[in-house]
Symmetry: C2
Subunit: 190 residues, 2 copies
Amino acid sequence: MYPELLNHIKRYVSLAARDEELLCDHVQPLGLKKKGILLEPGKICTGNYFVVKGCMRLYFINNKLNEHIIQFGLENWWINDQDSSLHKKPSNCYLQAIEPSELLLLPDKALPALFQQAPQLESYFRIMTQIVYVAAQRRIGFVFNQTEEERYRSFVSQFPGFVQRVPQYMIASYLGLTPQYISRLRAKIS
Amino acid sequence: MYPELLNHIKRYVSLAARDEELLCDHVQPLGLKKKGILLEPGKICTGNYFVVKGCMRLYFINNKLNEHIIQFGLENWWINDQDSSLHKKPSNCYLQAIEPSELLLLPDKALPALFQQAPQLESYFRIMTQIVYVAAQRRIGFVFNQTEEERYRSFVSQFPGFVQRVPQYMIASYLGLTPQYISRLRAKIS
DNA sequence: CGCGACGTTGATTTGCCTCAACGATTGTGG
DNA sequence: CCACAATCGTTGAGGCAAATCAACGTCGCG
């Protein structure tokens, strides 16, 4: 049994004991050290990873050889390359551990049967997807609506402490600006 | 019965005749003339709109009084303010018809019972949300990865004909650049 | 120690915005 | 049917915010 995962699910839907077992039968725990890689460009993403401990990032490298972070994965959240997973196409992303991490893998191929037998789980994943979709929409709004400076400030205030936890160049990469720019901003603020 | 909607659903899941009726009982058709408004800032979005004919846009106005289009809604697609709808909070967006449009309204409050009685419908909406989520992710990648020029070009090639269909300033607003810039781009291209 | 990873700072460049004025087209009311 | 306004696109001039290029500082680690 995986209490972190089950507790997270039970925040959103109720789950019978039988369904809990069913789910846990399909889940595999896995550990990853810093900079460990779960997915590389060219490979197809076939699973969903629940972060029990640690921190992940999903990023790609563009033709100017710049890294761009699409998404961070913190404790009690899911991370994978949905684009690759949903359309069964080769990913162009890396999925990498920023810190030593403990994850739970739920393979895509287990989902149809799981959803069939435990519709609550389909509800749960529908809700998860809605939440991250809304977050993505907001992020788009942020990019268009705010200046780079406002963007950095609101990110910091929205995730206090996170800035301390990961290198600054990753924050820059997530917000779509340069490390130098953030450095200057920080100097200006203090 | 609403064939456009049912056909769209059947692209993704199979639906028993009983479920079709059940769904259609909760659906209301509605017409909208050009510039007609379905949602305004301050109001809570309580429904999902399926576009049978026409074109919608979801946009907000920032503090510099600029419009920013979050999403277009074309034929055979859903549009609403998920953020408002999911979190039951007042929207800060307008949902407006760009062309005279025919829509189908499926109220949020009908969903729990529908999903309970027809799990296939929950599957369908889970898949819909996944698709738009992936699209939003890609859009974020576009914004960070490409120059404004590349962004415009790839938008045009991805949605050929759409540029003819809506005013250019709306394309600009969707892509996060100025109408003047697009105008100059078009001049340069030809 | 020496190397790599990360952050800082300075000088320069540039892509896009802003402001402003000017057409072209469409729609509308007298 | 015409005058007028509203809507939308184009073009020019100027400015600025952030990127780029480059060098240096510092910390941690094999």
